[in-house]
């Protein structure tokens, strides 16, 4: 579904990615693992076109999307849940969802479907997003991305700072997406969540792709975990 080949990218003169590549299939959850500052967020931003790649390509279902202007990338069907949620804080819950719906021209039925997945948001449609609790904000950030009816879903540390029940909800959402055939790229720090949720794991070290292994292999042998994330 989505293929990343040898991307190199950075911020102005600062180079961060020196060759990152992986692919994710329909109905698969691929986890990106790496230490803080390894370049996981930058990788997702490069996929979204927010950071222009200096080399390499991103291909979505056969179409090279890394040459597109950034605003045309999400329209191809990529939903993005950024690190730190990045809600439009002064807009209401309903307006945040509306922005998500506009991206691919989705309507009422999509909105209903998303609100069924996150009923708490329905009670708070007129509330300013900035005043939601942390957990509710994460629900909204996820719901906003689901409003695209994405083919590919990018989640950047969606469980950061959440309590167990909320983590469970995010996890169920990811499983639902996988069951619906969405390709999911998940950046996650908690190893046990990675091991139980991921189909495959791609390691990133200092802006370079390292081994890509199945979660089953990783569960059996933790040397890679020790090597790249130090646990």
């Amino acid at each position: 579904m989505l293929q990343v080949d040898g991307i190199e990218a950075g911020y102005g003169p600062v180079k961060v990615l020196y060759g990152v590549g992986f692919d994710v299939r329909e109905g698969e959850v691929l986890c990106l693992l790496g230490r803080n500052g390894a370049g996981k967020t930058t990788t997702l931003k490069t996929i979204m076109g927010l950071v222009p790649p200096e080399a390499g390509t991103v291909t979505l279902a056969g179409e090279v999307i890394s040459a597109l202007p950034a605003h045309e990338v999400p329209g191809r069907g990529i939903g993005y849940v950024p690190q730190g949620r990045r809600l439009f804080s002064d807009l209401t819950v309903a307006e945040n969802l509306e922005v998500g719906l506009m991206t691919r021209g989705k309507g009422k039925s999509t909105r209903e479907h998303v609100l069924e997945m996150f009923p708490r948001l329905r009670e708070r449609l007129t509330q300013r997003a900035g005043t939601l609790s942390g957990g509710e904000q994460q629900m909204l950030a996820t719901a906003r991305a689901l409003c695209l009816e994405p083919r590919v879903l990018l989640l950047d540390e969606p469980t950061e700072g959440l309590q167990p029940s909320m983590i469970q909800l995010i996890r169920e959402t990811v499983e639902t997406m996988r069951a619906e055939g969405v390709a999911v790229i998940l950046v996650e720090q908690r190893i046990e969540a990675v091991l139980s949720l991921a189909d495959r794991v791609a390691f990133i070290e200092n802006g370079r792709s390292r081994e890509i292994v199945t979660a089953t292999e990783l569960r059996a042998d933790d040397t890679l975990l020790r090597k790249y994330v130090g646990v």
Partner: protein, 352 residues
Amino acid sequence: MVVGAVPRLLPGVVGFAEEICITLQAWSFGAATRLRFQTLTGNDPGMEFGPHLLLAVLEGAVGAAVLALTALGLSLVFGVMRVVNVAHGEFYMLGAVVAWFVASVIAGHPALGFVAALVIAPLAAAVVAMVADRLVLKPVAYDPEATIVGTIGILYILQQAALMWFGPEARPVEPPFNHRIALPWYDWAAGEWFYPWGLSTTSYKLFVIAAAVVILLAFWAVLTRSRIGLIMRATQLDRETALAFGIPVGRVYSLVFGLGAGLAALAAVLIVPIQQAHYLMGGDPLLLSFIVVIIGGLGSVRGTVVAALLIGMSDGIISVFLSPTLSKILATLLVALVLVFRPQGLFGTRAA
């Protein structure tokens, strides 16, 4: 300050005939009122306070109305694009100059030319602004410092272009209508309604106030209720995330820069029948807009409107009763106080 046919004040005259009264004044709210007041105090030092307050409030409201529109354009551009548009006053000037061209080309009743100017001048200013956005601001990637230098360049280009094609003269635009409206004031001594000092305003001035209110409400409705308004607000709040949800931020910036210029031009079309078009007229609205936008909070629509009312009205009133210089001193002092005690402005939110 050139003042032409200032309405003469005939004590005790009731019911003025319709009269075209063109007051030529530079941008300085309440200048006409001030003159009237000086004449009055000369004649009658025991003047009552009430009627004059009413007049000062009206003059102040005209200034506030036009200032609100102009400052809103500046605030919108800063809010969404983080660009300090030093050329904002020149788009205002452009609006006035185009209004003059349009009005002088269209024959017939002055209202025809005026209505045409009301449509054409803001559009022309918007197009020029959008071209400037593409040619100047986009190439420097909207860098905050580079755009200040860039807009200073736009300022001089527009100003000199106006000097070349429009000339150094001040040129009037005829108002679409301009009935003299005497202000009713109940005279206690006489015990009946009459107009004791011939205090008057014109129907056109009332129209300017009403038009500005309508435009502000329409702008508010577009910003809060429409899809394009949602897109602009989302872009303002988080440019990168807006991109990640398919919002064409580059096009939104062009549109916003055009809209900001259009608002300034619209304000100028409204004021030009009272004030005259001149190629240097952009300086004062720029300064006052900055004052308003700093006090109101950059990027806050509500704050901008409230601060424009505050500055416009108090400028009108203080100028009439005390002195125009004092009014400018107080406004500047207020800016200093706001910057010290509430740098985000009265209604602004702290930058995240």
